[in-house]
Amino acid sequence: MSAARTTAPARAGAPARRLAPAGRSVRGLPPDLRVADQRRRLLAAFAAEVPRRGYDELSVEHVVRRAGVSRRTVYELFDGKADLFAAAHAEAFLSMRRLLRRAVRAAGAGASSWPDLVRAVLAALLDGATAAPDRALLLAAPSLVAGPHVGACHSRLRQAFGPCLRAAAPTGAPLSLPEAALGGLTEPIAGRILAGESDSLPALAPSLSTFLLACFPGPGASP
């Protein structure tokens, strides 16, 4: 696995998907929409550029070039690289959370068994990551993209998923189990994306379900 992940992302040179191509004029849009479009393009450019360079080596110039906006625009909308990261991570997180909440509702959380719920949520997560791998990587490999901001990223994930996982952990399980398991869950996902194999992410569902259910067999389980 490690060898496959040593290459730069296969799509690293490609423009962000489903966005206006870099440099495309946004003239003609009302000012508020133009700002929203520039912001969206900057966040997408950041998510696409950071895996291939690493947070430390990424400059605002790299993002500007990919997004096709002026350097001045970046600083009108953000306070710099760290702020760009924070905004990109927050957007990716909110998007994934919306997607997972829909999956929980669709699975009928009250009526579903814990294993069925885990499988439904994982399937939705992997589909979402396949559709938007750059954004998924921001969540799955915050160490890669965030550098010094990794702590804040992990905290956000732990706060979102920790209580639910904690309730499903076996009696006497280590307190850090949700944190470790979330880290473990994201490692293979990040690996596939970095290897340019994001299309194969849904195939991870059975293995990841087994892994998660082994860590969290369900409410009231004993070791």
Partner: protein, 157 residues
């Protein structure tokens, strides 16, 4: 070594030096007790990794979060490190029939979880927490292979 060359020429030397020290600590702990079983040896090696990280936070950060933030070269070396560790961990699949049928990505996930625990404390400047955290981390890693009770027993030794 298949990693692409980094832009910062000093990084590989620092990374390799840190890795050599970590390997020495882990391998020494692994080999210390001739009479120990394989799970006991691996538990000792994992304990040594956490002790190393708590005493050498800068080196440990370089091998985890720092490497990943460094771009393709750091990421590649990080993955090679995880891949080597996964090969060692996979020896535990022989411990129980249930362990033999674990999904192929199990080692990758377990080590990713371990790295998460380490990186977050190191990033937060809380390296002193790592030695306390070590038993929980060892239990997390050994449970799929040995079962929770045996993993907890070994983690607490």
């Amino acid at each position: 070594l298949t990693a692409p060359l980094p832009r910062e020429p000093g990084f590989p030397a620092c990374f390799e030096a840190a890795l050599a020290r970590l390997r020495f600590a882990a391998e020494s702990a692994y080999a210390e007790d001739d009479a120990a079983t394989e799970p006991e040896r691996l538990a000792a090696a994992l304990r040594a990794v956490f002790e190393f990280a708590s005493r050498n936070p800068s080196a440990a950060w370089l091998l985890t979060g720092g490497a990943l933030a460094h771009g393709p070269y750091g990421n590649a070396r990080y993955q090679e490190l995880l891949g080597a560790a996964a090969g060692v961990l996979a020896s535990l699949r022989a411990e129980r029939p249930e362990a033999a049928s674990l999904p192929a990505m199990t080692e990758c996930a377990l080590l990713g979880g371990l790295a998460t625990l380490l990186a977050r404390r190191l990033q937060a400047g809380a390296a002193e927490e790592l030695q306390v955290l070590a038993p929980e981390a060892i239990e997390f890693v050994l449970t799929p292979y040995l079962g929770a009770l045996e993993a907890r027993r070994l983690a607490g030794e």
